[in-house]
């Protein structure tokens, strides 16, 4: 019926891990309203692992589904493992995205990486 498959529609309609973490260890933001998609990721880190992850997204169906999928993929992973998650992996895990959504909306992994980098920055300073 749509340009999106069932899995994408499920993550869009019932996104996992929506929200903010008040005392997040790292925050990552990508996109802007001009291009139409904007994502903010919040992570909580414990023992070098992503203990919790939340996101907020302004954007189309693909952007929301991608954010939800990234949050699921990242949870429980070590920071290094999470840094390995690529936007391509996310699209694959979602069973594919429409061609025109692959670039502009598929930014979830970038937002996650930024949150991890932000955590590492903060962590460095604290030491």
């Amino acid at each position: 019926m749509f340009q999106y498959n069932e899995k994408v529609m499920d993550h869009f309609a019932n996104p996992r891990n929506v929200g903010e973490i008040a005392d997040a260890d790292g925050i990552g933001e990508v996109g802007n309203p001009v291009c139409g998609d904007m994502m903010t990721f919040y992570i909580k880190v414990k023992d070098n692992k992503i203990q919790d992850v939340k996101f907020k997204t302004f954007g189309c169906g693909a952007a929301i589904a991608v954010s939800s999928m990234v949050s699921e993929m990242a949870k429980g992973k070590t920071l290094d493992e999470a840094m390995q998650i690529s936007n391509k992996d996310v699209a694959k895990e979602l069973g594919g995205l429409p061609e025109n959504k692959l670039h502009c909306s598929n930014l979830g992994a970038d937002a996650l990486h930024k949150a991890i980098e932000n955590y590492r920055e903060n962590h460095k300073e604290n030491k």
Binding site: F2, Y4, M9, F12, A13, P15, V18, G19, E20, E29, P33, V34, C35, G36, D37, M38, M39, T40, K56, T57, F58, G59, C60, G61, A62, A63, I64, N100, K101, C104, S105
Partner: protein, 391 residues
């Protein structure tokens, strides 16, 4: 195919075909399959359908049948008008005036004409989407040969002061074209009253079939042929005519002529009910366009902090079909130029939704939208990093 009983609120894109139109078309699909250019009886039967349709189509806009050229869609009519008129009149000059709010089937052919050496002045619109006739007047040069301003905008529904603009054009003996795809069959669109020399309009926006449209060219207006071949459409638009489509278009025009006023009244009632329902139940939402001069079925709103495609998808899950100007929903990945032309920020434009009401919509349709929309907006806002409200 399953029976589609969605709540259809995308009548600006296309409309449900009227059953009476289908009835009129059927014989021209099944029985009168001849080529209208043929001399024999089968040709004559098809020709009769074609010419009767031409009379009805002309009648809707107050034109003579010989001033009607059938095309395949509104886009083709606009392309025909722009390229045909400019080519035929370029000995007088190479300057064209249009507005920022025109349909892409005007703006893109004009870009092509610019590449061919024509110059285009694009006048702005105000925040309600109006072209100021004084701006047109100020843009006129000695070499201006064509002004093209749409009768009403298909997105925000603003109905332009075409008569005033035509007057300005006439004073300088400039050819005036108007894109009437959003208005013909929906509101009165008499070419004499509008004062236009050329007028594009389409069947699928007025409960007729897709694949049929027309360009009105006032007698005496110079225009180059658009498709070359045989003598169909007096040699200006060659190619075998889409007889079933044109016959359906004719019937749609005939019906519109008699029922347009009643339909418009009904649409306005539903439109105002929907506007009130949205405004009363949702915060931080703007109604775009003009309240005084608005298409009967047009409700174009922008919801702050959220993006249109998501709204469209959630409404679709509830069986409600609407449109958005968001870049995510466009194949070009660009936010609607109409939304930015009236001064909306990109963020606000992304959250714009067009509900376009038609003659088949009911009170229940509108009530259903008012019921399901607020929780959708709320859900998406709670998900948005732009929304300052607390989770």
């Amino acid at each position: 195919m399953e029976n589609k009983n969605y709540i259809y609120l995308d009548n600006a894109s296309s409309t449900r075909i009227d059953d009476r139109v289908i009835e009129e078309m059927l014989p021209y699909i099944k029985d009168y399959y001849g080529n209208p250019s043929s001399v024999h009886q089968a040709g004559a039967d098809a020709r009769e359908g074609l010419e009767n349709a031409r009379i009805k189509v002309a009648d809707l806009i107050g034109a003579n049948p010989e001033e009607i050229y059938f095309t395949s869609c509104g886009t083709e009519s606009n392309n025909f008008a722009l390229t045909g008129i400019t080519e035929a009149n370029q000995n007088k000059g190479k300057h064209i005036i249009t507005s920022v709010i025109e349909h892409l089937s005007i703006l893109n052919p004009l870009k092509e004409l610019q590449r061919k050496g024509f110059e285009v002045t694009t006048v702005p619109v105000d925040k309600e989407g109006f072209v100021n006739p004084d701006d047109i007047k100020a843009a006129i040069r000695p070499d201006t040969i064509l002004i093209s301003i749409m009768h009403a905008n298909n997105e925000i529904g603003t109905i332009q002061k075409i008569r005033e603009i035509s007057k300005v054009a006439k004073e300088s003996e400039i050819i005036m074209h108007s894109d009437g795809v959003a208005t013909a069959g929906i509101i009165p669109s008499n070419v004499k009253e509008l004062g236009v020399d050329a007028f594009s309009f389409s069947s699928q926006q007025m409960y007729g079939p897709k694949g049929a449209a027309a360009l009105y060219i006032k007698k005496g207006t110079r225009i180059r042929p658009f498709i070359l071949g045989g003598v169909q459409e007096r040699g200006r638009r060659a190619g075998t005519e889409n007889i079933p489509g044109i016959v359906g278009f004719g019937k749609a025009c005939e019906i519109a002529k008699f029922e347009m006023e009643e339909n418009a009244k009904k649409s306005i009632k539903l439109r105002d009910k929907l506007i009130k329902g949205i405004m009363d139940n949702i915060k931080e939402v703007t109604l775009n366009g003009s309240m005084e001069s608005r298409l009967p079925g047009n409700v174009h709103v922008s919801f702050e902090y959220i993006e249109g495609e998501s709204i469209v998808l959630f409404l679709n899950m509830q069986g409600i079909t609407v449109a958005t100007g968001s870049s995510c929903a466009s194949q070009a990945l660009k936010v609607s130029h109409v939304c930015t032309s009236i001064g909306l920020s990109h963020a606000t434009a992304q959250g714009s939704i067009l509900f376009s009401i038609g003659k088949y919509n009911t009170d229940e349709d509108i009530e259903k939208v008012i019921e399901v929309l607020p929780p959708i907006i709320d859900k998406l806002r709670k998900m948005s990093p732009l929304y300052k409200g607390l989770i």
